[in-house]
């Protein structure tokens, strides 16, 4: 049997081109292995080999996302590979996001198995662990050999379409896909055993790790709302008609900030929703249903609120990663505070 063909993606640093100063390096492809690819080939043995390596600067990739993705995919296509591997990225944030983005794109556009690896706290892990297999690695390149030792055989498994074991067994981050199986003991006995371990302070493994619900304690009430500057922020995708910033209908990569100075009412002619996750008819007919500018203008006139803030912020919550939402909010929350806003009405759909 001939060897499986693998294309490998690495950043400018692992290619030996340079550090931060070379992070704007444009995508290039080199035949055969570069940098960590050697370690992969060693572990692949006779099963697979890296036929080409694509090198791209982290800043270039993240700042020119769409172009970079398209360029890299074109490069990969030419080699007609059986498998695509990116990284491992360890704890390098932008590299991790690039590895996650490109493996996700290759998987959906080229339909071949993909694999990457990174440290659990790399933001790319949270963003992409649900869509692609990501092997858990140490937080720096000292863990390279260990990481490749897990990634290489797992990649071969994926490429051959073999059955994939549990995350604990294979070393990837759980993608959160729940599958049933028959355990050795009945549930009640498992519960009693688990309680005994917990009481003794011994290690135990929960059968369902709680999702991390990031609960936010509400702030105390605004002292005098009749004097307060109030802003509106929505994940319901309300945008000026025509969606000038092209906010995605799902999995938004950005948020918009729009001036509503003098706008008394959001009409069918002037506003619409970009959101693809709900029936848009009613929001398009009257966007005030999602972003209540009209009633806030009434309250402003009646003196019940101080004033309505001149800008609103908007994105689509539909399928948008929590990590992205957090990043957007961190930015505009600072602007809101700087602009003297004292209260925000958040609307969802």
């Amino acid at each position: 049997m001939s060897k499986l063909r693998v294309v490998h993606y690495i950043n400018q640093f692992f290619a030996g081109i340079g550090g931060e100063e070379k992070a704007d390096h444009k995508p290039e492809v080199r035949e055969g292995v570069v940098g960590p690819g050697m370690e992969f080939n060693k572990n692949f043995g006779d099963d697979a080999e890296i036929v080409a390596t694509i090198i791209c600067g982290d800043s270039y990739f993240n700042e020119n996302l769409e172009e970079a993705k398209a360029e890299v995919i074109e490069m990969i296509k030419k080699y007609n590979p059986d498998m695509f591997i990116a990284g491992p990225a360890f704890n390098a944030g932008r590299y991790g996001v690039a590895c996650g983005t490109i493996t996700d794109a290759v998987q959906s556009e080229l339909g071949i198995p993909v694999l990457t690896g990174m440290y659990e706290e790399n933001p790319g892990a949270d963003m992409f662990k649900k869509s692609v297999y990501i092997i858990s690695t140490k937080n720096n390149a000292a863990g390279m050999r260990k990481a490749v030792k897990v990634m290489a055989p797992f990649a071969i498994k994926l490429a051959k379409g073999e059955e994939i074991g549990s995350p604990e067994k294979e070393g990837y981050f759980s993608r959160g896909i729940r599958k049933n199986f028959f355990a050795e003991k009945r549930g009640s006995a498992r519960a009693v055993d688990m309680l005994i371990k917990k009481l003794k302070g011994e290690d135990f493994t929960t059968e369902f790790p709680m999702p991390n619900f990031d609960r936010v304690e509400p702030n105390p009430a605004v002292k005098d709302i009749s004097k307060a500057k109030v802003a509106v922020v929505t994940s319901g995708g309300i945008v000026p008609k025509g969606n000038p910033d092209h906010i995605e209908s799902s999995s938004a990569s950005k948020y918009g900030k729009y001036d509503i100075d003098g706008v008394m009412d959001l009409t069918e002619e002037t506003y619409e929703t970009a959101h693809g996750g709900y029936d848009p008819v009613y929001a398009n007919e009257d966007s005030d249903r999602v972003l209540p500018v009209d009633v806030l203008r009434d309250l402003e006139k009646e003196g019940k609120i101080g004033e309505l803030h001149r800008y609103f912020y908007t994105t689509t919550g539909n399928g948008t990663a929590v990590a992205s939402s957090k990043a957007y909010a961190a930015e505009y929350a600072k602007e809101l505070v700087d602009d003297g806003v004292e209260a925000v009405i958040l609307t969802s759909t």
Binding site: S188, R190, V192, L195, I196, K198, E207, F208, M210
Partner: protein, 428 residues
């Protein structure tokens, strides 16, 4: 309280002239059962069918499953508040027809009644495929309201279970197990070095055909309270519940609560099982807050180190589950919760409607949304038409050849949250 539970092992069920147990075979007099059920004129017809393990039989829509038991020594009788007076049960001696059950079916009551397949892949998911079942097919009179229908069918099942249980009164059991719980302080004195553990059982009480009864009282009108774990072995808690088949606790589950049994199993060895708290799952927020506060306060008051908490149902009761867990953990008492999951057919969605980091020890009965294909069976007891509309079924579930494609949700007891089964789920 000391209860001897004598198991009479039933390996077959057959019709006979006299209802009796003979050499492990339960003989049932069909006519006597029919006339017993027909005492209630809400039913216009009653059929009795038998379904044994391995037979090509599908029973649906299943309302309840009940184990026949009889009280042979000690105060009170089986199913206090319903079939017996409200004397305190849970002591003396009770005989059990182990391996037999009464199953109630007929015209569907709610939307959520289940399927029991006696063979094939579906049989692996329901514990009742392993039993010798006496199935009551009860047809209600026209115009009988759902709530009256539910009550009539519930009572029919209990009545027949008690009737069959009588057959075991004078039979020598194959095995006798003893369950004993002491008054709290004595129990603590007896095992001073073992961690004190209680069981917190959440009872389905959302109303609208989602009800549970304790000594005859509707659980949604109760405050969280203490109950002796042996009481439930005599039927102190019964199901009046038509919630999703996979995770509703049938009366059979209550009688055989596996958490109680497994806590007794470790009692005096690794833990000191000192008691049981029951609390409800009402729909209003104030009720949820009150009931979980009381459950946590009682756990603190009896001074336990740890509890196992079990849920019944899903979605709305997930909030009660997390409230109970969090409030009890915050008292410094360690918890393990037993639940099941609704992670979507692909397993990729969020499993529970509520979550908290303090719920760090979870046992799951599996993902109820997982889809299964049930092949046709030679015989149907009841009706298969409702499978398109019961929870877990969908338009097109029932195919022309009689096979059924459904979520596990539709199979009676499949993802039980008392941990009755071996089914579990893990993340991939």
């Amino acid at each position: 309280m000391r209860l001897e539970l004598g198991n009479i092992l039933i390996k077959d069920v057959q019709f006979g002239e006299k209802t009796k147990v003979d050499n492990g075979i339960l003989f049932v007099n069909k006519e006597e059962i029919i006339s017993l059920v027909r005492e209630d004129d809400n039913f216009i017809s009653v059929e009795v069918e038998l379904a044994r393990p391995g037979e090509s039989i599908r029973i649906t829509p299943v309302k309840d499953v009940i184990e026949p038991r009889v009280k042979v020594e000690g105060p009170g009788g089986i199913f206090p508040g319903f079939m017996s007076k409200v004397d305190t049960v849970g002591s003396g001696r009770t005989h059990v027809l182990k391996g037999a059950a009464v199953v109630t079916t007929g015209k569907v009551v709610g939307f959520q009644e289940g399927i029991i397949d006696m063979t094939g892949p579906g049989a692996d998911y329901t514990p009742f495929s392993q039993l010798n079942n006496v199935v009551l097919v009860c047809e209600p009179k026209d115009g009988l309201k759902q709530h009256d229908h539910e009550r009539a069918l519930r009572m029919a099942g209990l009545k027949v279970a008690v009737y069959l249980g009588e057959a075991g009164r004078n039979v020598t059991p194959n095995e006798v197990n003893v369950y004993e719980s002491l008054p709290l302080l004595k129990s603590i004195e007896k095992y001073p070095n073992l961690p004190k553990v209680a069981y917190v059982q959440m009872l389905q009480s959302q109303g609208l055909l989602h009800d549970t009864y304790v000594y005859g009282v509707d659980a949604k009108q109760t405050l969280s309270t203490l109950i002796n774990p042996t009481d439930i072995m005599d039927g102190a808690i019964i199901s009046g519940n038509c919630v999703s088949a996979c995770d509703k606790n049938t009366t059979y589950h209550h009688l055989n609560n596996p958490i109680v049994h497994d806590l007794f199993e470790k009692h005096g060895k690794e833990i000191n099982f000192v008691g049981m708290i029951i609390t409800n799952e009402n729909v209003y927020l104030a009720d949820k807050e009150r009931s979980s506060n009381w459950a946590a306060n009682l756990a603190e008051y009896i001074g336990v180190d740890g509890v196992v908490i079990s849920q019944e149902g899903f979605g709305n009761p997930d909030t009660d589950l997390i409230m109970n867990c969090v409030k009890i953990e915050k008292k410094g008492i360690k918890t393990v919760i037993v639940t099941d999951e609704y992670a979507g057919r692909d397993g990729a969605s969020q499993s529970l409607a509520d979550a908290d980091p303090l719920a760090d020890a979870v046992v799951t009965g599996g993902n109820a949304n997982e889809v299964i294909e049930l092949p046709p069976m030679d015989k149907i007891i009841g009706y298969t038409e409702p499978v398109n509309s019961i929870a877990g079924g969908f338009d097109g579930s029932l195919r022309e050849n009689g096979s059924i494609v459904v979520e596990l949700q539709a199979i009676t007891g499949a993802t039980n949250e008392l941990g009755f089964n071996k089914l579990s789920a893990k993340g991939f």
